[in-house]
Subunit: 186 residues, 3 copies
């Protein structure tokens, strides 16, 4: 351990200036535009910084986004209060997808096979019709399948299959999601 | 999935105006009244909005309450810093009960048997002498029994029996709570 | 339960005035000094209140420290955004140690064998080269061994052995940490 010096750690800071400008906007003007009806204004700001929207979507004012240019959000989706989209890598959110309050979508980790712990990033995909419940954590590289349910406070480090329900830390399969009101999707 | 449209989702917003007014007060004046000695002022504000207090209790200034009219707090109880009482349904707190910093008491969920995920709320009861430790999560419909201990960071989705200790996510029984200083309660 | 009265609970408040002054500084001036290059200014403030630094270290502006006089930080270590160092007892951080965003280092608990729940504090040690990942919780009395990895969102209540990887709530051993780039430490 004696020869090791973490202060030599260097990380690529792509788009550094752009990111600082966005950070200031996200923490000031973005936070001040309230409600559902003005969500198009917040989405407009995100688009100016490179986010891709496929139709209307509701991003709450208290959401923190690291890099909008790594964000893609489908139609009718909702990202709730105090969610953090830590988009060091791509975050792709499908249609009719809900991410509830306080959840943390984390695309970054470190390579623990090296003492200096180099940054590792992997994209996260949350597919259409999925619901990530309150205070959940989604780790780098994870895909949440179509229509899947991630229980409140879950910590998810592996892919979640479509139309299943997971929960706990680490998240485990609880059951298949059975729909009452239509033919069960496959 | 193609015919499904989450933007058609409608939620009852009972007491909408009252709730917005309370939200502004909670995030401004309420936060600015410091300490233990002035807790009666904060409690007075909560009472004005329908909270029921049975004697003195200590609600920290940084507590967030969704709907005070759904809150009932017993004598000598304490709700600590940054706790969120998400009282879409009733939250009933007994006497001599402690809810520690950062805990989230969540009365709302969604019905996952339907694609549109309708809101479901269930009351939460935390009985007398219980301690919910730091950063815990209590889900809808849960009753924490008398004198029970909910460990730090636990996520509780099932009832906790009186005089037991639970921990983990999902929370599991750890042991019975044994008191040293008096006849063991039943 | 009827004879029990939590309002009689008294807690020692050592250095009460000093702590209030520090709290105000921590939440105002400290938060306003940005970035890596000015970290020596933040560290200077912490030193004025008794923190011990052994060389340079990076404490983010959004870190909350309960009592700097209980904090000791080794060279080249980093305490990330929104970490809470709840130092009612000693917190000792080694060299080249990383504590990632949102983690909660909690030295205090309560004695659950008594109804009145007296405060219990125990020191926490996070040894050199360890990495505590995002949103983790470290409980009172825990030692995180040299080079150990505590996974994101873990809740750690027992000691973690050197050069191991733990995760989950409660945290469990996942594997030994194997380094690629040099002789494996013992």
């Amino acid at each position: 351990m004696n020869d090791f010096d973490l202060s030599t750690y260097k990380e690529d800071k792509p788009f550094f200036i752009k990111r600082i400008i966005w950070m200031v906007i996200n923490r000031t003007i973005f936070r001040c535009i309230p409600g559902v009806k003005l969500s198009f204004v917040r989405n407009g700001m995100l688009k100016l910084f490179g986010a891709k929207f496929k139709g209307s979507a509701l991003i709450y004012p208290s959401v923190t986004i690291f890099a909008p240019w790594n964000l893609e959000v489908g139609q009718h989706s909702c990202v709730g209060p105090r969610v953090e989209l830590y988009s060091k890598d791509k975050i792709i959110i499908g249609r009719n997808t809900i991410i509830s309050q306080g959840s943390y979508i984390c695309t970054a980790s470190h390579d623990i096979s090296k003492l200096i712990l180099p940054l590792v990033t992997k994209p996260i995909t949350i597919e259409s019709g999925a619901w990530v419940a309150a205070d959940a954590f989604i780790g780098p590289g994870v895909t949440i399948g179509e229509g899947a349910i991630v229980g409140a406070r879950s910590a998810v480090f592996k892919d979640v299959k479509p139309w299943t329900v997971v929960g706990g830390n680490p998240a485990q399969l609880i059951k298949r999601r059975v729909l009452e009101d239509l033919n069960q999707p496959k």
